[in-house]
């Protein structure tokens, strides 16, 4: 579904990604792990067209992404929840959700979406008219995920969704990811919480210094303390 080949990316003069090779198949949860500064965020940003200069090839369902502007990549069915969440200050929870619906390519009715939110994210449904930025970190993360999901992306990329969030909420969030996958959404997950991530992922890639240094079934990696020690310990 998503195929990344020889992806290189630069921020100004610094060469960050040095030939990343990854694939995400339909219906999978694939997790991308690695130390801080390895290039995980840059990889996702590059797929979304937000990194600096990028070369190589990124295709999504056969469409080449690199020439496309960010909003067109979303229209193809790519959702992205950035590390910083980017909840829009001064907008209510409802307006933040609406933003996810406004792109002309997604035709869904607001009432249907709100009803769906109420089921999946009851906490958000209770706070629809609250200024979104006043919610707790966990609630904001839920909102960021909900906002990316309202347009029903085929593939959603999440960057460290569990960062700075209470353990109870993290468990809830990972249960949600598993459910989304079962309902047909493909997920590319960047996580520092290696054990949890490997626990729900089908496959995993390990990144170091802008390259993929290891890949394999999540179960195998979970059992391999040596590799985890080498590439993931902070």
């Amino acid at each position: 579904m998503l195929r990344i080949e020889k992806l290189q990316a630069w921020y100004g003069p610094s060469h960050i990604l040095q030939g990343v090779e990854m694939q995400v198949g339909r219906g999978e949860i694939v997790c991308l792990i690695g130390r801080n500064g390895a290039g995980k965020t840059t990889t996702l940003r590059s797929v979304m067209g937000l990194a600096g200069r990028s070369t190589g090839s990124v295709t999504f369902e056969g469409t080449s992404l690199l020439p496309l502007p960010t909003h067109r990549r979303n229209a193809l069915g790519l959702g992205y929840v950035p590390e910083e969440r980017r909840i829009v200050q001064g907008l209510s929870v409802r307006d933040n959700l609406r933003l996810g619906l406004l792109a002309s390519t997604h035709k869904r009715r607001e009432q249907d979406v709100i009803a769906e939110i109420a089921e999946t994210f009851p906490r958000l449904a209770e706070r629809l008219d609250q200024d979104a930025i006043t919610m707790s970190g966990g609630e904001q993360q839920m909102l960021a995920i909900a906002r990316a999901m309202v347009s029903r992306p085929k593939l959603i990329m999440l960057d460290e969704p569990s960062e700075g969030i209470m353990p109870v909420l993290v468990d809830e969030m990972f249960a949600l990811f598993a459910r989304l996958r079962d309902e047909g959404t493909t997920i590319l997950l960047v996580e520092q919480n290696v054990e949890l991530a490997l626990g729900i992922a089908d496959r995993a890639y390990i990144m170091d210094q802008g390259m993929i240094v290891h890949e394999g079934p999540a179960k195998a990696l979970l059992a391999d303390a040596d590799i985890q020690e080498r590439y993931c310990s902070v």
Binding site: M48, L50, P69, T70, H71, N74, A75, Y80, P82, R86, V88, Q89, G90, L91, D95, R98, L99, G100, L102, A103, T105, H106, R147, A148, S151
Partner: protein, 294 residues
Amino acid sequence: MEGLSLDLVVLQLFTGLALGAIYVLLALGMSLLFGMLTVVNFAHGAFYMLGAYVGIMLLGVGFNFWLCLLFVPLVVGSVGLLCERFLIRRLYGRGIDYPLLLTFGLSYIMVECVRIVFGTTGLQFDTPDALVGATDIGIGYFPTYRLFVIAVTFVVLGLLWLFLERTPYGLIIRAGARDPQIVRILGIDVARVWLVVFGIGTGLAALAGLLAAPLQGASPEMGNSILAEAFVVTVVGGMGSLVGAVIAGLLVGVVVAMTSLLAPEMAQVSIFALMAVVLLIRPQGFFGRAGLMS
């Protein structure tokens, strides 16, 4: 203060509000452009001037003033759209000085074109017949046209508020002003939104110029002098804040009017003194976000 009756002060307050209304219309556009596009539009004064001259042209081909109120912003707004689409758009993301220099140049071109077509001397702009004279506002007679300027400004403010707060397009604009990147991530073509914003901003400037013309006539340079004042209003209100533009615009208008009453020679200076005081106390202006300029 003896010799100044309360009525006179209140009447002067209204004069200030009418002047402030013009500032508000100008500063709204500037603030909108800065807040969303981080473009300091030095051509804003030229669009204001163009508003007056396009009004003169339309009146010349048989439009009445009321139709001008509608068509002048549309015509000048379209000129603004073209400038954005073909010139300014190329400079986004290159820092604040590139668009600044470009719009500075654009303003010279527009002023020079108007000089060539309409001559260098100013033109008179008659107050529309229905608005000539004065109206009793309870405490005395006040020029009807000035009341009209205040009223139009409040109607425009109301419409703009409805547009920004109650329409999907407005939501995109508000979100885009805060964080264009997330708007793109969510699948929205921000460039198209910016185009609309530029059209609205320049259209508002043109409306201000048209409304000001019966008060002070039209001249090719009319935009230059008011640009500095509109800039002060934008800074005092807080760059990027629309509420700030409204409050600061009215405040500056009133301050100018009151100073004219008490010490006419200080009127121009008072604007900049006000700015200095506000910025010393609150560097980001009334409603500006701290650090926006850095």
